[in-house]
């Protein structure tokens, strides 16, 4: 099959088989910041924004995302993501870093809808992202810090 995706603002033509998952197509075309974890929709390492919504790319059939607009963590680079990325570093919320792209995207999706989330709302928003290194205390602190900084950034 052949289609066009817009990935991080740029149109790309892609070929894939009818059963391929969006995760595999993205990685095959060089977007290796989209991490492959469980392939079962449970770990959140592969999340991307598809047409503005946070989704597990391992649970999306590429053929069902035809002409879709995809944003990976690299597509967030710039002023919108900087406070989130810096907050994760400053809060010590990154260890091996494998889950971090997903965490940053989930945080971005949360703060876009809800700029001042409470702890419960943060936990719920990140409930699809697993971290096997740090635990979650520092990650939640990072999101709180990012919310604070994003508020001042605007």
């Amino acid at each position: 099959m052949k289609t066009k995706f817009t990935v991080n603002g740029k149109g790309i033509s892609v070929h894939f088989s009818p059963t391929d998952r969006l995760l595999d197509v993205l990685r095959n075309y060089g977007f290796t910041e989209v991490k492959e974890g469980c392939r079962d929709g449970e770990c959140g390492a592969c999340v991307v924004l598809l047409n503005g919504k946070l989704v597990n790319s391992c649970q999306v059939l590429a053929a069902s995302a035809m002409d879709g607009n995809v944003v990976t963590v690299k597509g967030l680079a710039g002023d919108k993501a900087a406070p989130i990325q810096e907050a994760f570093v400053d809060a010590g919320a990154v260890q091996c870093g494998f889950c971090t792209p997903g965490m940053v995207l989930a945080t971005y999706a949360l703060l876009r809808e809800n700029p001042e989330p409470d702890t419960g709302e943060i936990r719920r928003a990140l409930d699809g992202n697993l971290c096997r290194c740090t635990g979650y205390v520092k990650i939640i602190q990072a999101v709180q810090l990012a919310a604070e900084r994003t508020k001042h950034h605007e």
Partner: protein, 273 residues
């Protein structure tokens, strides 16, 4: 692998025509198809371009387009009625990125044993609108029980009445992100009306029969004072059996479901949700 064709209908009539023969698998964007695998499937009908994604919450009526995601249901229904049983059940279902993909229609059509949607819909007397081989509006239990309704037809909308209620939803899971072994859903008229159970409805999903309304227990409690609960042996009104699952034996799950139900009824009697 055999050739697999995708179809992208632009309107409902075209989609209905495509699925009518029952040899093409509809795909609404959720996880059912990936989990099922592609064995035996030669054609897939992608429903994402169809106009089936609105939610109307108006007074006593809720209409959910089949392509509405769990997240949209939580957001739209919750904006009007934060304590709605659909909000209570779906907000803990799956995870945020999956709730953004799983659709109401796909979830009803696939009806996995761990469904968090079916219990609330049963209690709200939901109906499904079908197009394809079957056309018309059918009660949810009828749709779930009659296999011939599911083959060759698309769910286009889910319709239900909206009752003022306290809604409680219990999921038997080992961890927060686990699939539930079963769910118990209870709704009742808001507490405070003379300490009496009113419009109490109870559903269990994931049991041997797949789902069950506990109508005998509802009858035994509706119109009775909350204190009646103290003298009622719920075991006598719980004719529900469970298969053994990874979560525990059938016997254990039955006991867990009864305990959960007692706690939920006590919460309603205490006026909390």
């Amino acid at each position: 692998m055999e050739q697999l064709n995708w179809y992208y209908p632009e309107n409902l009539n075209e989609a209905a025509r495509l699925v009518k023969d029952g040899d093409k698998a509809p795909h609404s964007g959720g996880t059912a198809l990936i989990r099922r695998g592609f064995r035996g499937i030669r054609s897939i009908v992608d429903l994402s371009r169809l106009p089936m994604n609105g939610i109307e919450v108006q007074g006593e009526k809720i209409e959910i387009g089949a392509m509405c995601s769990y997240s949209e249901i939580i957001h739209e229904t919750g904006a009007v009625f934060p304590g709605h049983v659909l909000v209570q059940s779906l907000k803990n279902s799956a995870s945020t990125p999956l709730r953004n993909r799983i659709t109401a229609g796909g979830s009803v059509a696939a009806f996995p044993a761990w469904s968090d949607l079916i219990g609330p819909l049963l209690l709200l007397n939901a109906k499904v609108e079908l197009m394809g081989r079957e056309n018309g509006i059918f009660s949810l239990p009828e749709y779930l029980l009659r296999r011939e309704l599911r083959a060759g037809s698309l769910i286009t909308r889910i319709l239900m009445k909206n009752y003022p209620h306290i809604g409680l939803h219990y999921r038997e899971t080992r961890t927060q992100v686990d699939y539930p072994a079963f769910t118990v859903t209870v709704i009742a008229a808001p507490a405070g009306r003379n300490g009496v159970f009113q419009n109490l409805r109870i559903a269990v999903v994931g049991n041997r029969e797949r789902f069950r309304r506990l109508t005998e227990l509802e009858t035994a409690l509706n119109g009775k004072l909350f204190s009646h609960l103290d003298n009622l042996n719920i075991d006598n009104y719980f004719p529900v059996e469970f298969p053994d699952r990874k979560h525990g034996s059938g016997e254990y799950l039955k006991h867990a479901a009864e305990v959960a139900l007692k706690d939920m009824l006590n919460l309603i009697a205490g006026g909390k949700s």
